[in-house]
Point group: C2
């Protein structure tokens, strides 16, 4: 238990009857979000920050500078996960952590991940300004490559932290141009031992991630914030279809083994499988379709699809994958093409920690905010942090449920509410 606590500290930590006013600098935070959005491989409002790109490096530098200005001590691991620490009264205790990611898929927006990083930092600064001093250290974590753009696998940083992917498995990852993880992390300045990225259960007391919902529920229902109880189980498959190429004029229709026509059938089969589970939580997407040789007058000989299937229920999700593979077998036989599957990941769902949920609930009440319980169908670094620490997530509404697009938007009102609740929750957790 904390000793020599000030009244503010006691109130923040214990949820005193008296409302403690803390003051989020929402104007400052919004201009930081705006400034980070300018660091992009695309022209504003397009945000594109692929991990280990020059834009990613500049964004990391910007955030680290802000952390240093807040007096936080910075550590970076071998894959670029970044830890900014506000030392607690008792440095020996496992820290409380918050954070998210700043990498962005091509043509994305300004809020996904960023609200959890810059908002997490502002939560820490808000507590600092209030005169609060935590018992446990509080850390802000910026995870490497939450987005799968470069390596085809999401949450690379947290996945490695949790030991869900070994250094050996990580080292075979390549981007589309054939550049491997090792070459790319070195080029971005991260040269340490990948084996040291993995953390142990107990290294963190707890982890709370603030994030935009990336879905339409909160805005549609108007109930305020979202307290996430479960994170859906994502699976990602790469599908390679090998047919027979030829001249688009001369190759007769009965002689064809067109890889793209076969791919079109699989795209529709996956959509049908997802729609027919009967559960609104089942979603499936083919987001990548690469055609070889990709010339207008050439019958496609090879197609590579990348698919993403998610559900709150692993078994139901796996049923969709089974239906897709059944359709592929039939299409391959009928069209005389070869279809092979590679499972990129098929992760179990995560359940949020009841004690953190209770801290969130109490903080929502203390902040005078409203919220609903919900499921995250998007996955997050919390999915992997859950393997080594108690976790929970706090969602804020985003306009139209839109994300991964330049017109992604979360209002200052809701960002302020999220940071307010996050700050109070970190304070509560940091005294335990």
């Amino acid at each position: 238990m904390a000793k020599s606590r000030t009244p503010v500290e006691k109130a923040l930590e214990n949820g005193a009857e008296t409302r403690v006013e803390i003051s989020v600098d929402i104007a400052g935070l919004m201009s930081e979000i705006e400034a980070l959005a300018q660091i992009s491989e695309g022209d504003p409002p397009v945000v594109t920050r692929v991990v280990f790109s020059e834009a990613d490096s500049r964004a990391r530098a910007y955030v680290k500078e802000l952390c240093q200005a807040a007096g936080l001590a910075i550590r970076e691991d071998a894959v670029g996960n970044t830890f900014a620490r506000w030392e607690g009264r008792d440095p020996a205790l496992a820290p409380v952590a918050t954070g998210s990611h700043i990498d962005a898929i091509p043509n994305a927006g300004a809020y996904d991940g960023v609200v959890g990083v810059l908002g997490g930092l502002e939560a820490i600064r808000t507590l600092q300004r209030s005169g609060f001093r935590p018992n446990r250290s509080i850390e802000l974590i910026i995870f490497t490559s939450e987005e799968p753009t470069r390596f085809g696998i999401g949450c690379l940083g947290s996945r490695m932290m949790a030991g869900a992917i070994s250094p050996e498995q990580a080292l075979v990852l390549q981007d589309k141009t054939g550049r491997g993880l090792d070459e790319l992390r070195h080029s971005a300045g991260f040269t340490g031992d990948l084996a040291a990225v993995k953390l142990a259960a107990g290294d963190y007391n707890s982890f709370v991630e603030l994030h935009i919902e990336q879905g339409p529920l909160l805005e549609r229902e108007g109930l305020g914030l979202g307290v996430v109880t479960h994170i859906a189980a994502p699976a990602s498959l790469r599908i390679l279809i090998e047919g027979e190429g030829g001249h688009a004029g001369a190759m007769l229709m009965p002689d064809r083994h067109d890889a793209l026509a076969a791919g079109a059938e699989l795209i529709l089969a996956l959509e049908t499988a997802a729609k027919t589970t009967g559960a609104i939580d089942t979603v499936a997407t083919v987001g990548v379709c690469e055609v070889f040789p990709g010339a207008v007058n050439s019958v496609p000989s090879r197609v590579r699809l990348e698919t993403d299937v998610r559900d709150t229920d692993s078994a139901r999700r796996d049923g969709v994958l089974t239906a897709l593979k059944g359709a592929a077998t039939e299409v391959a036989a009928r069209r005389g093409v070869r279809i092979s599957f590679e499972t990129v990941n098929a992760d179990p769902p995560a359940t949020c920690d009841p004690a953190i949920l209770a801290a969130l609930d109490a903080s929502i009440v203390a902040a005078g905010r409203s919220a609903r319980r919900m499921v995250s169908r998007a996955y997050h670094d919390s999915l992997f942090m859950a393997r080594i620490a108690p976790v929970a997530m706090l969602f804020i509404p985003c306009r139209g449920g839109v994300s991964h697009r330049p017109d992604e938007y979360a209002s200052p009102h809701w960002i302020e509410a999220g940071v307010d609740v996050l700050a109070r929750t970190l304070a509560r957790l940091a005294c335990q």
Copy 2:
């Protein structure tokens, strides 16, 4: 009529009863084909020579050197069409021409186009070695950008020569990186006035193109060479599908307007439309499918398809396009996406000239070869040369009907037969 003709000339020109032996240097020609195949943006056996690339420039230089060694006079027009002239006894007469192209789509083979260029040159050299001297000049034409890879439109050089595309229309053409025709031709050293590319009807007496079949008929039937009577009518459409993007995890299935799922339906609708005309000559292909943003965890917001539809009958071909557009209207309404069509080209078919066909027939007999009449479903520069000159084409069999692939292959036996017949045909035409 020619004066002071030698017996060889008279025999070649008039189809004397006596067989005239002419000697194609097939070994030399095959090693030139081999050498040209090494000039590629890909590693052998892959041939990739996109127009105005560095490989295209090197290939042009190689062919021009061979032409100069044969004593031909070279002219290049403003878009890079190259004319290598063997001056006839009467330079005032409209020349006889042969030729084809040396550009190659990505991941192509060594024979498409090249057999008509290097084989055309060898036909000229064969006549030179035989002691023949033409009355009309004989020209070898190397056409710029027969392949649509760079600018999305096939036969750019012959299209401009025939006035089927105006300089103004040509100047708006761009490649995928946004580089325009003018910038690219300048970078390749072609700086003249584009308006001067257009030729007049009558500038050429006749044009005969030697080409591999790029289809399976000749090999399958074993009847030897193919004398082309018609060139099928090609059409190419670009289709833009605009849906709504979003996060692949959070965007619920009932809320989606997935551009790629809509595209998959169109790919299959086009295939069905082509298969159900009841004519074996109808072919349709979607060779390009570009997905935006193209990330595994993002619902596709935009898809661009490039389609190629051909038929020997324009009306039947246009019926396929009508069926596709009907399907698109239904898909757009049902899925809540926008679908727009851009006609890149929709060219009429070409009919080969009876007098050239007669010269080909007589040359086949004189050479002791066999042939069948046939239709070209692939299009060629001859399709556009037909607008300004009498044309015909001579096909040689290729293994398995395979083309636009690295394993494209035509045997020395059939290449020699084609060059032999081409040389005799040029001789006949050059005396008229």
